[in-house]
Symmetry: C2
Subunit: 250 residues, 2 copies
């Protein structure tokens, strides 16, 4: 089986935003679907891991788009792993539109957790470590790697506080990785101004959030970017859940 | 061209809820996509209407599910119009899973609006009224029609109030029909209790809501159902946007 795989999608108009462009969160969902199809076909998808009481969790993600798919555009997501270590897997995506128009790239780091302890698990223990056969160490991605997203927490402003709701939680019983992106986009000032294009989105996931927690979004705009720290509040204690940078310029 | 059409989908695990079932809102999105594909292939989809400064708007919707698609299940949505009048179109859906397992049915009423005046437009004026050729007057749907959703507004409780955010708005520049369902599910008490299955969802759309409005969710549980009225607040004035009934029993 090939190391990389390509999946086809359509930018459904009702999943496009008021500017007529596919939303980053919708694109993120498609990317996660492509990653799961790719893993499932190679024996280490969500279902195979679930049977061993494990799950993939997204640790870091960066998406850089030159062109967003337009309404009804048939687009393609190619995904592959560059490298797999015991604790982390490095997965990339290339997104192309009709007539091979380059839309953008994305890159990520994944960990595996034990579903009972919620602690990191050894990736090589799944399926006799066959996952290593699918790593393509010569195939990187032409954008900056997904960083830890360093944010100076001075002068951040509390922009929104909200209860976590049913629709935020996914089958892994925690707030869905992509739902955080949807929430952060909702508090990003540039999204309302609509004067500039979002060029790069970078997210670092620190802690899981659960149904009974609350989320606080602290953010500030600095030049051509918006920084946001999402804190989960459980039993009155604040803990960092997600850090996110949205750049309007590369 | 056939009057009905069938489209294939997959219940992606990360679009499933904490119970491992496809969310009603995700299913609703797929149904709307199927409706739009069906319309587009017959010359009256979103794009064709947009060129004439018109758009379809959902007026009433009912979904009745016996079995929700399970994670990774390949499922099929068949859609057709039973009847088309000048002001309204009656569209149905049948949802089946693998091995022809019946999942459920849905039914709806659509109006067409002029995008400038936001007022109702004459459906027969689109494409010389060819839409009538695709109505299948002998093919109904074996569930109760989508009603106007009558709700006794006495004793409703204010359950949530929220600003409308970027992710609520779709390409038609109003709150997306399915996003209301996501919000109503989030305030439905049974969703948190998780003791009963949602069997029927019924929604009536009264007024469009826009980016600068707020939404207030008033609801109450009455026996085996949850009733919710969504009010849009614009310039301090409350106006009914949506009425919704969620039944736990048929």
């Amino acid at each position: 089986m090939e190391k990389a795989a390509t999946y086809d999608f359509i930018a459904e108009p009702f999943r496009c935003d008021l500017n007529g462009e596919l939303m980053y969160s919708t694109l993120g969902n498609y990317m996660l679907n492509a990653a799961d199809y790719h893993s499932a076909e190679r024996g280490f998808g969500w279902k195979a891991l679930k049977a061993e009481n494990k799950a993939w969790v997204l640790s870091r993600l960066a998406i850089e788009m030159q062109n967003m798919p337009q309404p009804y555009e048939h687009f393609h997501i190619t995904t592959w792993m560059e490298k797999t270590l015991r604790a982390f897997t490095y997965r990339h995506w290339a997104i192309t539109g009709e007539n091979n128009r380059l839309c953008g790239y994305a890159t990520s780091v994944w960990a595996m957790i034990d579903l009972t302890t919620r602690q990191p698990a050894d990736i090589f223990k799944i399926g006799d470590g066959k996952i290593r056969d699918y790593a393509d160490e010569n195939r990187g991605v032409p954008i900056d790697r997904a960083s830890h997203v360093k944010i100076d927490k001075e002068n951040l402003e509390l922009l929104r506080e909200t209860d976590i709701a049913y629709s935020d939680i996914d089958i892994n019983n925690h707030v869905n990785s992509i739902k955080y992106i949807e929430h952060v986009m909702n508090v990003c000032p540039e999204i309302s101004r609509r004067s500039k294009q979002i060029r790069r989105l970078e997210v670092a996931y620190a802690t899981e959030s659960h149904m009974t927690d609350r989320l606080r979004f602290y953010g500030k705009e600095e030049g051509e970017r918006f920084c946001c720290v999402v804190m989960r509040v459980a039993d009155g204690v604040e803990q960092e859940a997600v850090r996110c940078n949205i750049s309007y310029k590369l």
